[in-house]
């Protein structure tokens, strides 16, 4: 009984999400093999072997894996899938793109976004924007799963003893060609793994006003997020979106500013440890999930908050 964890990495390091997935793999209880596909990512493969709980790393080094092309990664996973009872992905944009392909090729049901491992074949996952939790049991020979990273504490990056084995490339699809990417540049923590998140909604009124949130985020070493309304209005780019169909976050502290609290937004942040809501509408649904609510005009409250954090 062995679990295969399909790792993600960028800029010469494992993505934090992979450490959460390995944590879910440990909860399942099998030996853990990590699959690392990349180009020139040998150091990351070695690092993956050192991660707590990992007993083996399969490393494929090829230009086909220089980007996260779903077809190519799925073919590679399929080349080794037979030996595993569980195949785990992070429920990230990259993981969601590949997991269902692998499930379909194995003719098994995919299990999306698990938040709990009840046993080796039974898992809990949110449905209806997290308004219900479904306990599902799989009778498939291979369980193909994506893991909601915020639901599992990351494992340590040391303590493992996984030897790195070379895996042959499964080749590149000729149906798809990578053109380019526009990635946001930020020195601050990444939204899904930050300890503190400061998010703005429609109440911010425009993109320039997000600089007030940036200022506070700077002081708290926080990431900045947004509601769908703020993204749709063009205040900030899509990668800021927290919610049912955006990113799911569960930081120690989530500060929601000018966010009314639609069901779809709550789905992305209601598992945060402490929630603060700042909104001038005291009837806003966000106050129903907030530990601390401040009914105030954000344009008065934010400068005050920024100043108070200096003290």
């Amino acid at each position: 009984m062995t679990t295969l964890v399909v790792a993600e990495h960028e800029a010469g390091a494992l993505r934090p999400a992979t450490l959460n997935v390995i944590s879910a793999a440990k909860a399942i209880g099998n030996d853990i093999t990590v699959l690392l596909a990349g180009q020139g990512a040998g150091d990351v493969a070695t690092a993956a072997g050192n991660v707590d709980g990992v007993s083996k790393v399969l490393h494929a080094d090829d230009a086909a894996y220089a980007q996260e092309i779903a077809e190519n990664i799925a073919s590679l996973v399929m080349s080794v899938a037979e030996g595993y009872t569980h195949i785990l992905f992070a429920a990230t944009a990259a993981g969601k793109n590949v997991m269902p392909r692998v499930a379909a090729m194995l003719d098994v049901s995919g299990i999306s976004d698990i938040t709990s491992v009840e046993s080796a074949d039974t898992f809990i996952r949110p449905i209806y924007a997290g308004n219900a939790m479904a306990t599902v049991k799989s009778g498939d020979a291979t369980k193909v799963i994506s893991v909601r990273t915020t639901a599992f504490e990351p494992v340590a990056e040391s303590g493992g003893s996984g030897a790195v084995e070379t895996l042959a490339s499964a080749g590149a699809s000729d149906l798809v060609e990578f053109i380019g990417e526009e990635l946001s540049q930020s020195d601050r923590p990444e939204l899904t793994s930050a300890d503190i998140v400061v998010s703005g909604g429609r109440g911010m009124q425009n993109g320039d006003n997000f600089s007030m949130l940036d200022e506070i985020a700077e002081k708290l070493n926080a990431a900045v997020g947004a509601s769908r309304a703020a993204v749709d209005s063009g205040f900030v780019p899509n990668e800021y979106q927290v919610g049912q169909t955006g990113k799911v976050v569960a930081p120690n502290l989530y500060i929601a500013v000018g966010i009314s609290g639609a069901i779809q937004h709550l789905a992305g942040m209601k598992d945060s440890k402490v929630i603060v809501a700042i909104n001038k509408d005291e009837e806003a649904p966000i106050f129903q999930v907030a530990d601390y609510g401040l009914v105030a005009d954000l344009f008065d409250a934010l400068p005050e908050l920024s100043k108070a954090l200096d003290g």
Partner: protein, 249 residues
């Protein structure tokens, strides 16, 4: 070129889902049902592609109970040319849906299949990727921009760190993200016209597709509720509580 577009009937996005009394699912009796929002975006994109002269026919497909005809009629009122309902009262897994769609793909031979990236009931985000894998067609998920370049599509995709662009050969499976377009509303005369558009119904059994699943729902529960919080009087009190009570800053 034909475009096949998937439309699913789901609990309206403004209605709060409640677990039913026997904990087997969500209470769906006497609640408002609508087209999955991502599918509205899919229909809109298919129509724009047709209106730009890049497709001749848009076929709206739904898989579900007979009431899903209403969802197809909505797509027809928006401008789709005809509809197909694969009728079933069972709640099918994405794998079964993908297999049924593959059956239609073989029959209709579309150049493009446009699906929502996820349905807001099961939140699975699987069907498009599965259909691509099963048919061997190229996959372009989470699209926020689609451009035709001969027999290839340039697709801008929403990824976790921003945007990514890929080029895929057609036929292809496209799944829509929120920023792809703003769906049109059906106008009254078009709603009337939609009633006369062809809508074919096929029983799952007649497709010969195996829709069995080894994934079973054991039970469905309400999520843990958060404890009621407090309203603070000012910023000073908020900061004091975050420092000394919650100890998070």
């Amino acid at each position: 070129m034909k475009i096949l577009v998937g439309v699913k009937r789901v609990l309206d996005y403004n209605v709060k889902a409640r677990v039913n009394a026997d904990k087997t699912g969500i209470e769906l009796a006497n609640v408002k049902m609508s087209m999955n929002p991502f599918d509205e975006i899919a229909v809109e994109e298919a129509l724009r592609i047709k209106e730009a002269g890049n497709a001749e026919e848009v076929i709206a497909v739904s898989i579900g109970p007979s009431q899903s005809q209403e969802t197809i009629r909505t797509a027809l009122a928006m401008g789709a040319d005809r509809g197909i309902l694969i009728e079933t009262d069972e709640l099918l897994e994405p794998l079964a849906i993908a297999k049924l769609l593959k059956h239609l793909v073989e029959k209709e031979e579309p150049g493009l299949i446009v699906l929502g990236k996820q349905a807001i009931d099961g939140d699975n985000n699987q069907t498009g990727q599965m259909l691509s894998a099963l048919t061997g067609m190229a996959q372009a998920t989470f699209a926020s921009k689609v451009e035709f370049e001969g027999d290839t599509l340039k697709v801008t995709r929403e990824v976790d760190a921003g945007l990514e662009s890929i080029k895929v050969k057609m036929p292809a499976v496209l799944t829509t993200d929120l920023r792809l377009n703003e769906p049109r509303y059906a106008k009254l005369p078009n709603i009337m016209k939609a009633k006369k558009k062809p809508l074919e119904t096929i029983a799952v059994a007649d497709t010969g597709v195996d829709v069995s699943s080894k994934l079973t729902v054991v039970e469905v529960n309400e999520p843990e509720q958060r404890k009621a919080g407090v309203i603070v009087s000012d910023v000073a009190e908020l900061v004091e509580k975050l420092r000394n009570e919650a100890k998070v800053i």
